[in-house]
């Protein structure tokens, strides 16, 4: 039997816009994944800790506050420090300007999903890009 994919959906930083995070969480769950949604205001440290504890395959970070260039790479760096980055796919989504995306990918975010992305695109991406 195929292993169930486990995803942590998280809101890094102080941003309270959680409509997108909740929609993604529910869509991933409806697609048969196990979803852990952390709620608001998590530090990168807390997110990484939760990802490791929950033994997830992917971390989906939703951010609309403009703090993405600091917070998203920080999650990747901490995962690397914990030797967990090689097992966990890191995704970002939210209001993130096109010009910031190449830099974020270079720093280890596998993909960035901007407003208007159908949830199926994210579901397929996770299924096709798992690291383990």
């Amino acid at each position: 039997m195929e292993k169930t994919i486990r995803v942590l959906v998280a809101k890094p930083g102080l941003d309270g816009h959680d409509r997108g995070a909740k929609v993604i969480a529910r869509a991933l769950r409806d697609a048969g994944m196990e979803v852990i949604y952390t709620g608001l205001r998590l530090t990168p440290e807390q997110i990484v800790q939760a990802a490791i504890q929950e033994d997830v395959d992917a971390v989906a970070l939703s951010i609309l506050s403009g703090a993405h260039n600091y917070l998203l790479p920080r999650v990747v760096d901490l995962l690397k420090e914990e030797n967990a980055y090689d097992d966990i796919l890191v995704l970002g989504g939210g209001v993130i300007p096109e010009e910031d995306i190449p830099g974020l990918k270079e720093k280890g975010i596998a993909e960035i999903f901007t407003p208007g992305t159908p949830t199926q695109v994210t579901i397929d991406f996770i299924k096709n890009n798992l690291k383990k």
């Binding site: 930083g13 102080l14 941003d15 309270g16 816009h17 959680d18 409509r19 909740k22 929609v23 969480a25 529910r26 869509a27 769950r29 979803v35 949604y37 952390t38 709620g39 608001l40 205001r41 530090t43 506050s65 403009g66 703090a67 260039n69 600091y70 917070l71 209001v95 300007p97 096109e98 010009e99 901007t114 407003p115 208007g116 159908p118 949830t119 199926q120």
Partner: protein, 559 residues
């Protein structure tokens, strides 16, 4: 509104029309869809006639503008007397840069200010706090102390403008700073006009910038009600907000229902604190969203006005008509904007502007076309403001009051939204009120369900969003978006270091200790906060004292 015989006759005629005309047409040309719905999933009939509003009593249900139940508007002359306040929400980076943007907006003919604070300010952290990293100056201006506030309003006479501040958990601190700046300008508090959002319940529901648990938060709010009734009588002490509830994905009916349920909770808290309803209720104000479904939105505002008037009169026994008037600010719906083909957003905002004006708003913020991508540039803000000016001066809709009143569809939908909202409110009453319903996750779950349903409709192309799931083009990434300098964080940190060297630290400690002690007791906290602010205690220091006494709110996570 109609004679019984007339209605009977109309019903007969309608059956004939349906049999003779409609069915024949349908046989040859089926309609575009089997069922038509509003964006909130309300079924829309083919035609509305007097039959749909036969139960409406003009005098009781609609009345005259400025008179109970205020369905047609809160003022007797509405926009013929004075247009709505054109108020663009703005603020980013430092107080200096935001001060420049405010002066630009006032030069462009804007008539009121609206301050956006960054997230650390909204959650009561100074810019040098570890949780503020990456967030300083991003979604609004960073305010750490009275020093920043003095710069923010430099050269803007506070007795001449009205200022709205989107601040909730630390609303008392920012209001105190505003009062202190005014004092330095020689303007006394009784002359100040403006609004603080100060609506914590919707932060728990949808917006997320809470700090303290429910009870002390409600105390801070009712302390402001009491303080302002005496000292800042022209200030709107709260802006009970449906905007963010709608942005989180609610329907129009849910927006009205949950907002008014929050309103009821504030009134009850104030009554419990010993205030008399007619002393504070006239200063309650509201804040709604404007989505694209024009006629549903117009009906929504009318329904909210009528329902609130009845609640205040019948449930709370208000006597002053001003206590029954639902006055509201509107912002066009950020979540309706698309990142794709952003120029199309100008048209959406124009429709939403019409909705707000036809619905009788008191003030309006129009979003800029680039807001699905970043904070707006000066050019795009100008177009957004011009949209309001065109509706005001060219469209003709402001020349008569409530021009859609009497429309069979709008009246019928107004009643339907009001009834739907009442059902939700009685369900929330059964759960023990808005605060309890939030604690149980009921309100969040209802919104989440609507939001997910809408998203799935869009993904299945059952709802068309132009440029996003239909009429798409290949586009290049937009250029010239506004960027906040990442150095803002460092600049604010330096300002705090400097401030802490210059101020009288003994005085600061005394004022903070006094606040701490007062928070443990029952005194109104506003005077203590004002004293602390004047000693140049920082926002973070003040909020930390309150955190120590009150603790922090823990979110109930619902998906």
């Amino acid at each position: 509104m109609f004679d019984k015989n007339e209605i009977t006759e109309l019903k007969k005629k309608m059956i004939e029309w349906d049999e003779e005309k409609v069915q024949k047409t349908l046989n040859r040309f089926p309609e575009r869809k089997e069922q038509f719905t509003t964006v909130s999933n309300k079924i829309v009939d083919r035609l509305y006639t007097p039959v749909d509003i036969e139960d409406i009593n003009y005098q009781e249900d609609l009345g005259y503008p400025g008179e109970f139940p205020f369905t047609r508007g809160v003022q007797p002359t509405m926009y013929r007397g004075r247009l709505w306040t054109m108020r663009q929400y703005a603020g980013f980076a430092t107080a200096e840069e935001s001060n420049n943007r405010y002066k630009f907006l006032l030069d462009q003919g804007q008539t009121g200010l609206s301050v956006a604070f960054d997230l650390p300010t909204q959650i009561g952290y100074d810019s040098d706090h570890s949780l503020s990293q990456g967030e300083v100056g991003k979604v609004g201006v960073a305010i750490d102390s009275l020093k920043d506030m003095e710069i923010l309003f430099k050269g803007i006479p506070l007795d001449k403008v009205s200022t709205s501040m989107t601040i909730n958990a630390p609303a008392s601190v920012l209001l105190a700073m505003y009062i202190a700046v005014a004092e330095k300008q020689g303007v006394s508090a009784d002359k100040l006009k403006g609004t603080i959002q100060n609506d914590i319940l919707k932060e728990y529901i949808a917006r997320g910038t809470y700090i303290f648990p429910v009870e002390p938060s409600m105390r801070l709010i009712t302390d402001i009600f009491a303080y302002c009734a005496d000292e800042v009588p022209k200030w709107n002490t709260i802006s009970i907000s449906g905007y963010h509830i709608r942005e989180a994905g609610s329907t129009a009916t849910q927006e009205v229902a949950f907002t008014l349920a929050d309103g009821i909770a504030y009134v009850e808290a104030a009554l419990k604190a010993g205030l008399e309803v007619d002393t504070f209720a006239p200063r309650l104000s509201f804040f709604f969203n404007a989505h694209n479904d024009l006629l549903e939105e117009v009906s929504k505002y009318r329904a909210a006005r009528r329902l609130w008037a009845k609640i205040m009169k019948e449930r709370f026994g208000a006597k002053n008509p001003k206590s029954m008037q639902l006055k509201f600010h509107t912002q066009t719906g950020g979540s309706t904007l698309t990142a794709q083909q952003p120029e199309n957003n100008i048209v959406r905002v124009a429709i939403q502007t019409l909705a707000a004006v036809l619905g009788g708003t008191q003030s309006l913020h129009t979003n800029s076309k680039d807001e699905a991508l970043a904070l707006p540039t000066e050019d795009s803000v100008r177009v957004a403001l011009r949209t309001q000016q065109i509706v005001a001066h060219e469209s003709g809709v402001a020349e008569t009051i409530d021009p859609l009143g009497g429309s069979y569809y709008v009246e019928s939908l107004t009643t339907e939204i009001e009834n739907g909202a009442m059902r939700y409110i009685s369900k929330i009453d059964d759960l023990g009120g808005a605060a309890k319903a939030i604690e149980k996750g009921y309100i969040q779950k209802e919104i989440m369900d609507s939001s997910y349903e809408y998203q799935m409709q869009v993904e299945k192309n059952e709802r068309i969003v132009v440029g996003m799931n239909k009429f798409k083009i290949e586009e290049e990434a937009p250029k010239g978006l506004l960027k906040v300098d990442p150095a803002v964080g460092e600049m604010q940190k330096n300002k705090i270091d400097q401030l802490k060297k210059e101020r009288n630290s003994e005085e600061v400690i005394n004022k903070l200790n006094a606040l701490n002690k007062a928070a443990k007791g029952e005194d109104n906290l506003m005077p203590y906060i004002l004293e602390a602010v004047k000693s140049y205690a920082t926002l973070g220091e003040i909020c930390d004292e309150l955190r120590e006494v009150f603790g922090e709110y823990e979110q109930s996570v619902i998906i």
